[in-house]
């Protein structure tokens, strides 16, 4: 067994109504996904300020994924539509600044999609692990 195997730190923002419940379902169904995925529960995917994403990167996250209800199913009617526009622009901007585009992702995942949640996290962790550590956006001033 390799001792110093690199494990990327993944921050997953999950909306309370769909994706967080989806993560719960994945757990109940005994579906495994990497333990280095750290879930942060937010009331709605729209709660995620672009600053949250950048801060996560600054503090050492290697990948950030946002999960919310499917468009049209938002608990607050339209929150995820705004998220969609915001994150499309933010990710495009990060790419423009030379940050690997595989480090960021938005995935819609409902409360019934436990399997999709686990699969998404497995895939995303694998993709980020292939990129290696995030050096471009980390900020030593923000680390504890």
């Amino acid at each position: 067994m390799q001792v110093n195997e690199y494990k990327p730190l993944i921050v997953a923002f999950c909306c309370n109504w769909c994706s967080y419940a989806g993560a719960d379902l994945a757990g109940n169904n005994r579906l495994s996904y990497p333990d280095n995925v750290k879930i942060i529960r937010v009331p709605c995917s729209c709660r995620v300020n672009p600053m949250f994403v950048l801060r996560a990167f600054q503090r050492g996250a290697d990948g950030v994924i946002l999960c919310g209800c499917h468009p049209g199913d938002c608990h607050y009617t339209s929150g995820n539509y705004y998220t969609r526009r915001r994150m499309a622009l933010l990710f495009s901007m990060l790419d423009y600044l030379g940050i690997e585009r595989e480090r960021t992702r938005v995935e819609w995942c409902s409360a019934a999609e436990g399997a999709k949640f686990a699969q998404t996290m497995n895939e995303f962790t694998e993709a980020v692990a292939a990129l290696g550590e995030n050096k471009r956006l980390e900020d030593l001033r923000c680390k504890e």
Partner: protein, 331 residues
């Protein structure tokens, strides 16, 4: 196009001041150097006659000054706005930051303002005075006996070369001729150039540019879209108020967030790059957002119409998914 002269502006200002239409005039006063002008309020005709300045260095966008200046004054303020300034003015009206009834807008036609750093690149340092003559700018430096002539084309600011519009979108009165919008200005040329680079090249480019940032906040202070009374960057607990080691990509957070805060509201006036003491091309960040908004959600020009809905506070059910951003052709 007929050049706007100082006399045209002062005579207009004095007549409007004398007949009581306005109670103050927002104009330019001489600063430390003849190319370094200070925006200032004038209350009397004598003051205007003696101290009002207008030349090719009047690049400052006056619309933001009106947010605070209209608050503590009785009556109207006369503001001279160039075409690009009127877009910012309209955007501020849309955001209810300026009371339209307190401003008398005199639109002035503009064929581009001069950029002192471009002149300095031609004549060298030590500029003691500059005068605007019909055939060009006469630049006197302390090292030369004779003044050097720099043509207006060579001195023109980058943002004016790819000017998006010479048309005033808002005015009470106009001095000079009304121009046209210029859709072929190629203002996204440099953005497209950067997009065509590899991620490593882009990262190297931006690290080189942004690591020069000294966090003076001049870009925020001058930006007509940044009018919040409480700004997130004034928070002493943000942990990012001081400089990081030059080896890290230190100022990215500040600049990404600042560009994001004005995304969809930025009229592309170019003030951020003009005032940057480190000459960071900050407008390229804003233009990236404008270009993306135009391609993802349809053409949108902030400030073109009062009351238009900014793209980030709007949505359609068929919008592009964030994952599709990079799947499109050529990205």
């Amino acid at each position: 196009m007929q050049r706007i002269t100082r006399e045209m502006l002062t005579s207009k200002a004095i007549s409007l001041l004398n007949d009581g239409t306005v109670s103050a005039v927002l104009g330019w006063r001489e600063g430390e150097f003849s190319y370094d002008l200070t925006p200032s309020l004038f209350y009397t005709a004598e003051d205007i006659e003696q101290n009002f300045v207008f030349n090719d260095f009047c690049g400052a966008n006056f619309s933001k000054y009106l947010v605070t200046k209209t608050l503590g004054i009785e009556g109207k303020i006369l503001a001279f706005l160039k075409p690009c300034d009127t877009y910012s003015f309209n955007q501020l009206l849309t955001e209810h930051r300026i009371d339209r009834s307190k401003v008398y807008v005199v639109g002035i036609s503009c064929d581009g303002m001069a950029d002192i750093s471009k002149i300095r690149a031609i004549t060298g340092d030590g500029i003691s005075s500059i005068s605007c003559e019909p055939d060009g700018l006469k630049v006197q430096t302390i090292y030369d006996d004779e003044p050097k002539t720099v043509s207006y084309e060579d001195a023109m600011a980058e943002r004016c070369i790819c000017c998006k519009s010479k048309k005033h979108v808002c005015y009470d009165e106009l001095i000079g001729e009304e121009g046209e919008e210029n859709p072929d200005c190629n203002r996204f040329g440099k953005v497209a150039e950067l997009e065509a680079m590899t991620p490593d090249e882009r990262f190297a480019f931006w690290r080189g540019e942004l690591s020069r940032c000294i966090r003076c906040n001049a870009c925020r202070d001058v930006c007509p879209a940044c009018t919040c009374e409480k700004c997130v960057f004034n928070n002493p607990n943000s942990g990012a108020e001081n400089k990081a080691p030059a080896t890290s990509f230190e100022e990215q957070m500040f600049h990404i967030i600042r560009a994001f805060h004005v995304a969809g509201r930025c009229t592309d006036c170019g003030e951020c790059s003009r005032v940057c003491p480190q000459h960071i091309p900050l407008h390229l960040l804003n233009r990236k957002f404008i270009k993306d908004i135009n391609t993802f959600y349809g053409e949108y020009q902030a400030g073109k119409e009062v009351g238009s809905r900014a793209p980030l506070v709007d949505y359609t059910t068929g919008d592009l998914e964030p994952g599709q951003v990079f799947e499109r052709e050529g990205m």
